[in-house]
Structures are given as C-alpha cells and as structure tokens.
C-alpha cells in the first residue's frame, strides 16, 4: 500500500528532513493575498503576515492551501 515517504531530497540540509527547493520559494506568494511570504526554516513554514496564515512545508512540499494553513494569533 502506501510506501515509505521518508526519502531524502538532494537539497536536504537535514538528514532526516528533505529540504524545500530554494528556487521554488522565489516563485511563491500567499494564495489568498498575493503578498510575499517569510520562510521560517526552523518551523518549516511559509508565513503570510498579511493573511495571518502559516503554510506548512512537509517533506519538502509547500502546502499552499488556505484550509491547511495554521492561523496566526494576532497579539
């Protein structure tokens, strides 16, 4: 059935976690506001301050779906 998704990307910076393609990040904007995104390498998230959303990056794949994004608390 489902195969192991633990393969490592060539551009991996962390042996356990396939890294996101840096070139890819240059193309991405927030799908809701079209504003530029901040890349949080530690949390593996792309943050849209304008929309108050953090889009997760899993296995090197940015998930640019508003319904899967984490809502940032305004404080």
């Amino acid at each position: 059935m489902a195969e192991d998704t633990q393969q490592t990307g060539q551009d991996s910076t962390d042996a356990k976690r396939p890294g996101v393609d840096r070139k890819l990040l240059e193309f991405l904007v927030c799908p809701v506001t079209h504003a530029t995104l901040r890349y949080d390498a530690e949390a593996q998230e792309l943050i849209s301050d304008a929309a108050g959303l953090a889009y997760p990056i899993r296995d090197g794949i940015p998930i640019m779906l508003p319904e899967e994004a984490r809502e940032l608390k305004a404080d």
């Binding site: 195969e3 393609d21 890819l24 991405l28 904007v29 079209h34 794949i61 640019m64 779906l65 508003p66």
Partner: protein, 311 residues
C-alpha cells in the same frame, strides 16, 4: 444543497483524484495510459516552439510527466509541478521536481512569473474555466505561453447516450453521469476572452476500445475521472440501469471482435500573454498608403456613385 453555480463537486473530485494517486503510488499505472499519451503529444507540440523556457509550471501535474519531460528534453531551466493532491505531489517530488500543493481557486504564484504554464487533462474539472484562464494568463510573463490539454467535444458520447437511455427506460428519469464538455469553438472564445494573444484551439480524437462498457467505467474510476458532478445521483444506481446501458452500448457500437469503442476528444489550448513584440493588426485608419494608389485606380469618396466608364 449543492451550489447550482458549481457544476462539479470539489469534495468528490478530490476523493476521486486521491483514489487515483493511491493506485499510482502502489505501482499500478495501468489506467494512466491516456495521461501518458496526451503528455507526449503536449511535449511534442512544445518542441515546435523554438525558444527555451526559463521558468515553467505544470498545473494539476499528477505524476509530473510533462514537467519532467520539459526538464529532460532541456526545454526549461526551472520546472515547477503543482498538484492539490498529496499523493500526486509526493510523486512529483519523487521525480525530482520542485513541487507545491495548490488548488485552482487560490494559486500561490506571483503575476508575471512564468514563461510557460501547462496542464495535461485536468482543466475539464474546473468549475470556473473563464476565471481560471484569466488567473493563468496573469501568472505568465509578457510573451509567455499557455498550452494545455483537456477532455472536451464528443468525449464519452457513446457512454453518455447509453446511460441516459438506459436510466430513462429503467427508472423513468435521468441524472447527470457524464460531464458537460467544452466544444472547440467555445474553447477558442474562452482563450480570447481571457486576454490571450494569438489563441488557438484544436482537437485530437483518440478512440480507445474496451472489452465491455463495465471495463470502460472501471477504468474511468481508476483514472480518477469518475462522476463528480454536483447534481449527480447520491444514492446507488440500480444494477438494471448499468446492465441495460451495457446492452445498448454493445448493440450500438461493438465491433466484430465484440470490443466497444469510447471516444476521447482531447482539446488543446494554446495562447500567449500579450507582448508588444507579437504580430498584431494595425489600428483602423493608420494606413500610410492609399488603397487607390496601390490599385492604380481613381478614388471615389464613400456614398458617391462610381462614375460610369465611358464606352
């Protein structure tokens, strides 16, 4: 209630595609042959475009065949694969493509990002195709190319008619089972309306034969192309409907070998983001030479009667 403006049900579509990606991930790519065939045709058409593409995007990339082909043929420096489905996105990433999960309504790309946007057999599931084409056009650089293939025209016309007739005879009513299809003239018009320059739409007919209508329907489901129409019948269809439809299909279409044909019309869309370097007609009234001079004739003003030639 389903939204009447939404022909297709996004939840059903996501479920269908996720079923297809699970099958592909388990190594069963048998039902993928139409996608492979049309991806090849798209790539061959792109080979006819002389210049290379610096940045390219494949939407609804599935396994990323077109994207990987562009990369492997040396046609594009950077090729990004986008697919909403987690399983397909994983396949693209596995193929070494920079991959992003993205849907149709919210595209995460800046305006003027790409020299090429392509899509293979997916846009027939978009609810708002005119809006989608506008969004695609916006992502292109000036003189960037949009080239895509989608099912349209007479696709599954045999199945549509047989299911409709069978359901009407058996239950006394009909429910939508085969998607409405875009026709060629509509397609060209949509490209123009979305602001593409030099828009072209053409169609390739691919006829596939199957051992029975049941094999055809099973294969459509395996492709993730099962019924996702919002107004589809939500309760199970009576078996008698399918049995009668299969009988009608065989009676009307079966060849001497007993196999039944299914029509797939693949509509190819082709348009450019406008740029000043593109050939364009001159503005009316901007002519620098008189037509009368070119014809070596005498000019008469509009409304005047043409003087009779003396005999």
């Amino acid at each position: 209630m389903t939204d009447p403006m939404q022909i297709f049900d996004p939840t059903a579509l996501a479920r269908n595609r996720s079923g297809a990606s699970r099958r592909v991930r388990s190594g069963n790519t048998h039902a993928e042959f139409l996608f492979e065939e049309v991806a090849d045709r798209l790539l061959d058409r792109l080979d006819d475009v002389a210049r290379p593409f610096a940045a390219a995007l494949e939407l609804d990339a599935r396994r990323g065949i077109v994207a990987a082909g562009l990369r492997d043929r040396g046609r594009a420096e950077t090729v990004i694969a986008a697919d909403r489905d987690a399983g397909f996105a994983e396949r693209c990433r596995h193929a070494g493509l920079p991959t992003v999960r993205a849907g149709h309504d919210f595209l995460p790309f800046a305006p003027g990002s790409f020299d090429l946007v392509t899509s293979c057999l997916a846009l027939h599931w978009v609810n708002d195709l005119p809006g989608m084409l506008v969004r695609i056009n916006r992502m292109l650089k000036p003189d960037g190319l949009f080239q895509a293939a989608l099912f349209g025209g007479e696709t599954l016309t045999e199945l549509r008619a047989c299911l409709m007739d069978a359901e009407l005879e058996v239950t006394g009513g009909v429910s939508p089972r085969v998607s409405p299809m875009v026709d060629l003239r509509d397609a060209a018009g949509l490209l123009q309306r979305a602001g593409f320059a030099l828009p072209v739409a053409d169609v390739d007919r691919i006829t596939v034969t199957y051992t029975s209508p049941f094999t055809l329907m099973a294969e459509l489901r395996a492709m993730g192309e099962g019924n996702a129409i919002g107004e589809r019948l939500r309760r199970p269809t009576r078996r008698a409907v399918f049995l009668h439809a299969a009988q009608l299909y065989a009676d009307r279409h079966a060849g001497p070998d007993g196999r039944i044909p299914a029509t797939f019309d693949v509509v190819f869309l082709h348009g450019w983001h406008p740029a000043e370097s593109q050939p364009a007609p001159l503005r009316p009234g901007s002519a620098a030479n008189r037509l009368a001079d070119a014809l070596d004739g005498k000019e008469a003003s509009a409304g005047d009667s043409v003087p009779k030639k003396p005999n």
